[in-house]
Amino acid sequence: VLFHRGHIIHIVFILVGLVLLAKLFFIQVLSDEYKIAAERNIIQPVVEYPYRGVIYDRNGGFLAYNVPIYDLMVIPKEVKHLDSLAFCQNFGISLETFNSAFKKAKAYSCVKPSVFIKNVSQETWAKIQDYVAEYPGFFVQARTVRKYPTLMLANTLGYVGEIGSQQLAADTSHYYKQGDMIGISGLEKSYEKVLRGERGVKYQVRDAQGIAKGSFKGGVFDRASIPGEDLKTTIDAALQMYGEQLMKNKIGSIVAMVPQTGEILALISSPAYDPNLLTGKDFSNHFATLERDALAPLFHRPIMAMYPPGSIFKLHQALIALQEKVICTGTSYTCDKKLLNCHAHTSPLNLHKAIKYSCNPYFYHVFRKIVNQKVSNDSYEDTRLGLEKWCGYLKRFGLGAKLGIDLPGEKSGYVPDAQFYDRCYGKRGWKASTIRSLDIGQGELLVTPLQMANFAATVANRGYYCTPYLVSQIGEQSVLPKEAERHEVAIDRAHFEFITHAMQEVVEGGTAWRTRIEGVVVCAKTGTVENPHGEDHSVCIAFAPRDNPQIALSVYVENAGWGARASASIAGLLIEKYLNGVVSRFRLQDYVLKGDFLH
């Protein structure tokens, strides 16, 4: 035997390895065939941005759509024989801009495309499109930006902007890339997934000179972009527009909704801004200005601002007390101004009149009756049990928790419970007299304008509400059933009927007389929210008509004094606009637009 068998095996192994290496050497080094094939095979992916879904109002009018813009892109490695001076002249940029942009693109990647000039408008594009073909390495990529044709509803619609690095890191689906646009607030954010659609890609074959030779393999690997779905909202554009007009030069919010369904008709935050400021090229400048503004136009007041409910809360108190049977509609108290300051009205008075005149001392007694039901002989314990019961009712009204509107950033308001007062005053450190500011809706209680509009809807429905929502249709799909959940507040219909009549009386003979409309039975309640930082806030909730309610709303005007003035007037005008389509009371309209409510 010439070789040990182990050695023969060893030699065979190495020989096979050498055969592989020899064949590889032939393929990789000696032969040009494969390199040429590879060059014929240069495949460049071209991203196709999807069309973002359009947003409509309830009548099919545009609230948001897309307009095309163009980015001039560059692939640094493919740029050849460039006369930069001529280039700058043709494209209308300075040499410094050119140099810095080119440096930036090269720093990113030599072979991958990056943005050279961003957001070239359609007009500029028309001018430069002839030149682009003369410069290898440069090409134009079309994108779209948002346009908001009505110039209103800014905070509700939100805005779209470039994705931030934190969002990018948090994106577990790995969909987004650096430079992608994403909905940042409002509906643009909460419906981002359906609005954005799905990015597509086209694989282009280029030859050794970098000239496109059509799609790769007839496009079998291409993925068409899937356009985003359109949203149909519940917004009534005419009402929204009118409301924003009325709220000009005022701070505050209006929420108007259809009581039976929870559809939001108008959602007004004032001061407002033109949503088109936050699209396109000057996004960052405008954004900085808006963010610096002391009046916080980016703060979405209807769902984010929290105020004590003020006198409107007397309705809650009355309903709870009636349901708990601690008072009846005939219960009378004297208006004792030593207990609480009050207005001039008859005394003693029953519940109906107490609501009509918004009597403060009366509701001092009502709240006492609710929290101290003499269940326990220990007055501390008794208050505690009473307050817990009271909190339970408020929770069912949707207070102290988010209602779940389909917008980001909704605040929950605050309902102080027994644990809260334990923390403030210690256990057994508080009783009814300690928390008496709650009786007329002041104190630690906080609500949002949306929650108050929702309360108006609850009364209008005589005891239930549906989760308020803005989007009724995604694409062809109706989204109603899930969003419009029906919540019962577990208070008898009869008590609501009583409150409704009292609210009608508030309009016809009480503080909300400015809300009165010829031929329509309006129900309303005004409130003046004490503001330790300045003038009081003017508040009003209303719904109409009484027996077949079609609209329920809340109006907040900050620092405008009595609810009877600014808010009640605005509420009346909006109801008239919605029910009749036109406003006939021009004097009242002028009064609101002039906006001097304190005198």
């Binding site: 068998r5 182990g6 095996i9 060893h10 192994f13 190495i14 096979v16 390895g17 055969v19 592989l20 290496l21 064949k23 590889l24 050497f25 393929i27 990789q28 080094v29 032969s31 065939e33 494969y34 390199k35 094939a37 590879a38 060059e39 095979n41 240069i42 495949i43 992916p45 991203v47 072979v111 991958k112 990018l168 790995h174 890339k177 990015r199 890609v201 694989y203 690997f221």
Partner: protein, 429 residues
């Protein structure tokens, strides 16, 4: 117990180093394949292949420490049990298996028992050869060993994974080393050649060719009755083989297996399917040139145009991004690793350890040669991974365990003496 105190002593660090080199290099390639400039960031997440492979590599660390903890004899004593267990797993896939890429080789909760079966089969063969002092010239041991191999081959072929079942053919290397007659090997090679020719040439021509060859050879040589009988027998056997193989390809194999085997001969037979893979694979490797395009810079191996880019065709990425120099280094590392295994096997005193070493060397060699060969069109595309480089938890873990057990035997080799030495010691007593 004494082993537990210094489990790292006498470890062959050279083999371990070559192994680690391949693992690390493999991971970078999987990362590069998954790097997708359009649709994601290319970062390493647990949801993509590179992230999962990182988990598997970590797992092999645990396997490493775990396998060193036991004494080498432990593996020897468990060989049959392990074999039986893995055969049950294989049978399990026939019942509960899920189909991935046309093979019903996977458990729904992950894992590919055919990878483990290779290791189990090596151990069983080594145990059998060691235990009975077999002589390969006898028929009985030949049949027993054939049985050991045929059982997993049949089950895996039933799964539809013909490629993996062919791997078991690599054991002829072991048997040759242990004394199998080279004539049997030559017959095997003859059968292989005839089989490939049935694919190349229409079988009618082949039959006519065989008969005319037989007639000519009887005409040329001096005719004795013995020689005539021999020629007739060989001719009949060859004809049966041609017809049998032809029927096997046409009737037994599934269409995608047929096309895979046919595309070996002529990649243009199916330019959009398997042949297109090989063409694309060759273009990718060829475009790498001498120095390659650099890490993540490969343009031919991105976008998922070549299917199974991170498993069976991972070598394209190496060829494209690192060029011939990179390929040279990888192939040299593999040859170094296999040479080291052969060297280590030869220095074992236990016959079990030597057979085992040759067994894993031949399996690694088969995978290495076939996988690289298929990416450059030298051998048919049968879907088997490149050990330590390709993406896949089952194959990585089982190949690693194969090496670790050999390392353990090698570390303890001085504790054992062979039967020959033992008997020679007896003479002195």
């Amino acid at each position: 117990l004494k082993a537990a105190s210094n489990i790292f002593s006498h470890i062959d660090w050279l083999l371990l180093g070559l192994y680690a080199l391949l693992i690390v290099f493999g991971w970078f390639n999987i990362y590069s394949v998954g790097y997708e400039p359009v649709f994601n960031q290319g970062a390493c997440h647990l949801s993509d292949n590179a992230g999962k492979q990182l988990l598997w590599i970590t797992t092999t660390l645990f396997i490493f420490f775990g396998s060193l903890f036991f004494e080498a004899r432990f593996y020897q004593s468990l060989a049959y049990f392990f074999y039986a267990f893995s055969m049950l797993l294989l049978l399990g896939t026939l019942i509960w298996g899920v189909s991935i890429g046309g093979h019903r080789a996977w458990f729904p909760w992950g894992g590919q028992p055919s990878e483990v079966a290779k290791l189990a089969c090596v151990m069983a063969i080594a145990r059998y050869v060691d235990g009975s002092n077999v002589q390969f010239t006898r028929l009985r041991p030949q049949l027993v060993l054939l049985g050991f191999i045929l059982l997993p081959v049949v089950i895996i072929a039933l799964q539809g994974d013909v490629g993996s079942s062919l791997v078991f053919g690599a054991f002829v290397v072991v048997f040759y080393r242990e004394g199998l007659s080279p004539w049997l090997l030559l017959v095997g090679i003859f059968i292989g050649t005839i089989s490939i020719m049935t694919l190349l040439i229409p079988h009618i021509y082949l039959i006519v060719g065989t008969i005319s060859f037989a007639l000519i050879s009887t005409g040329v040589v001096r005719r004795t009755p013995k020689k005539i009988v021999l020629v007739v027998l060989i001719t009949l056997g060859t004809l049966a083989l041609i017809e049998g193989f032809h029927l096997f390809v046409e009737k037994v194999l599934k269409p995608h297996q047929q096309s895979r085997i046919r595309a070996l001969v002529d990649p243009n037979i199916d330019p959009l399917g398997i042949g297109w893979n090989v063409t694309q694979s060759k273009i990718a490797i060829g475009s790498g040139g001498l120095w390659g395009k650099g890490f993540l810079q490969g343009s031919q191996t991105k976008y998922g145009f070549v299917p199974e880019q991170s498993t069976d065709f991972i070598f394209c990425t190496i060829g494209e991004e690192y060029g011939w120099i990179g390929v040279l280094l990888v192939i040299s590392t593999f040859l170094g690793l296999m040479s080291r295994i052969l060297y280590i096997s030869e220095r074992q005193r236990l016959r079990f350890a030597r057979v085992y070493g040759y067994g894993i060397a031949s399996i690694l060699f088969f995978h290495f040669a076939i996988n690289i060969g298929m990416t450059i069109g030298l051998v048919p595309v049968i879907g088997i991974p490149l050990p330590f480089i390709s993406y896949g938890g089952s194959s990585l873990c089982s190949f690693s365990l194969m090496l670790f057990i050999l390392l353990k035997f090698d570390a303890e080799r001085k504790n054992y003496c062979s039967w020959r030495q033992a008997s020679s010691l007896d003479q002195f007593n």
